[in-house]
């Protein structure tokens, strides 16, 4: 059976029809062609599929698309403005926080969620916010440094 639904993806309202067993991840990648969101484990362990749902980080592989009906989704494609990268993307490049890149979209969205709630995080808070994002190139140190470089000292 096919069900109608609405999603606001990266500020664009989209109406679509999906079967119940389609996950949000499958809709993003296959129906909408937004391949920046990755599928790693498919079971909520690795965080490669992290997107923001109403500004909160979630595993897109563990949500039915229909559960996101009427909500706002932010994917990695929604961060840059034209050719201007988002500050977190710039920081990742500057700090060499990207190796193979597979975990990067999820890492950046987890970082965005953290920095919006906690503009001046401690290193511990940064590490805690990334526990659900696995990097198998073992690049955590530079990722943590990249995020800490954006901490707004003094006003947090």
């Amino acid at each position: 059976m096919i069900y109608p639904m609405k999603l606001t993806v990266n500020d664009e309202l989209i109406e679509l029809e999906v079967p119940a067993h389609r996950t949000l991840l499958e809709v993003l990648r296959n129906d909408l062609g937004l391949k920046g969101t990755k599928e790693g484990c498919g079971a909520g362990e690795c965080g490669a599929c992290t997107v923001l749902l109403d500004d909160e980080p979630v595993n897109a592989c563990l949500i039915l698309a229909l559960q996101a009906d009427g909500k706002r989704v932010t994917t990695i494609e929604g961060l840059s403005k034209g050719s201007n990268l988002h500050a977190i993307q710039e920081a990742f490049i500057r700090h060499g926080a990207i190796q193979c890149g597979f975990c990067t979209p999820g890492m950046i969205l987890s970082a965005k969620a953290l920095l919006e709630r906690t503009p001046n995080p401690t290193e511990k808070e940064v590490r805690r916010s990334l526990v659900g994002n696995f990097c198998r190139c073992t690049g955590y140190q530079k990722i943590v440094e990249a995020i800490l470089s954006l901490a707004k000292r003094g006003d947090g």
Binding site: M1, Y3, P19, A20, H21, R22, T23, E26, G42, A43, G44, E45, G47, T50, L53, E56, P57, V58, N59, C61, L62, I63, L64, L66, Q67, S110, A113, K124, R127, R128, S129, V131, G132, N133
Partner: protein
């Protein structure tokens, strides 16, 4: 991993949910946060024909404070527990345990009702709720009934929930004045792991006599369900506070649990760790120094 097709039912009220449960019985499963259910469906461990989507039901959401109790709606997410201003004093133990679940991504989806209905022996919310004397309100077309959480959790993946019922809310009585508490979780990693052993402790003390008054201990992952360690509790209650007494009670807790060997750890290791963790948990709740744990 792909899901098999199923029918998606979107009830608009609790009554609709009850009627769907009566109509479809065990062909339908209730969907809350989905962090356990969808994984089990992807792994083909269960293949329900229908999912009843509970998420839009506002009746199941929110934390409500009454004069001397707290009512936590089944759809309250782990992140809501972490952030709620209502979870103060002894109730804060539940918030503390919620921070140890999975990842931020999981905690923004997973719910307290889902955690309890999934009934894993390692459910992180269960040991704190046991020492907080939680009851669960189960609801169906026939009305509501309340049972202690301890009676609700009947085995691994098994609960006292009848086919026509849902878990509506968790009810916490007011914890004793001056409750001291902590929750310790041992995993193979600091996070993103199920507990090998977890310990929730809540105690009250008489500072003049330097004695324990109430002592409540609960253990996760070392029995078919999360359990209270009643023999260890009795050993401490009313007695003088001291390192030796705490160590002996921890030994008792290690004897009264029934751990299993599985792919994460052996029964022997778990029993030994119960001893270590109970001692540390009681000490930490009293403000004694313990070795650093977790991040």
């Amino acid at each position: 991993m792909r899901l098999k097709p199923f029918e998606f039912l979107n009830p608009s009220s609790l009554e609709d949910v009850f009627e769907l449960l009566v109509r479809y019985g065990n062909e339908a499963k209730c969907l809350a946060g989905g962090t356990d259910l969808l994984v089990q469906m992807k792994q083909r461990r269960i293949l329900p024909k229908r999912l009843i989507n509970l998420l839009p039901l506002s009746e199941l959401k929110g934390i409500h404070k009454a004069e001397d109790s707290l009512r936590i709606g089944a759809l309250t997410r782990h992140v809501d527990l972490e952030r709620s201003a209502f979870l103060e004093k002894g109730w804060n133990l539940l918030a503390l345990a919620a921070t140890k679940i999975g990842s931020p991504q999981i905690r923004h989806l997973g719910t307290i009702g889902g955690n309890l209905c999934n009934a894993s022996p390692s459910a992180d919310t269960a040991p704190p709720l046991l020492v907080l004397h939680a009851t669960v309100c189960l609801s169906s077309l026939k009305g509501n009934r309340q049972i202690p959480l301890e009676a609700f959790l009947t085995g691994p993946g098994q609960t006292g929930l009848r086919e026509d019922e849902i878990l509506k809310e968790v009810i916490l009585p007011k914890p004793p004045e001056g409750s001291l508490f902590t929750y310790l979780k041992l995993g193979r990693r600091k996070s993103m792991d199920l507990a090998l052993v977890s310990v929730a402790v809540l105690v009250t003390i008489n500072p003049e006599r330097k004695t324990f008054e109430q002592v409540r201990l609960a253990l996760g992952s070392v029995a078919p369900t999360p359990i209270r360690a009643r023999a260890a509790e009795k050993q401490l209650g009313g007695n003088l506070i001291g390192e030796e007494a705490i160590r002996e009670a921890a030994e008792t807790a290690a004897q009264e649990c029934q751990p299993m060997t599985d792919l994460r750890a052996t029964a022997e290791y778990r029993r030994e760790m119960v001893k270590v963790l109970v001692e540390r948990a009681v000490k930490q709740s009293l403000g004694f120094p313990i070795p650093p744990t977790g991040i």
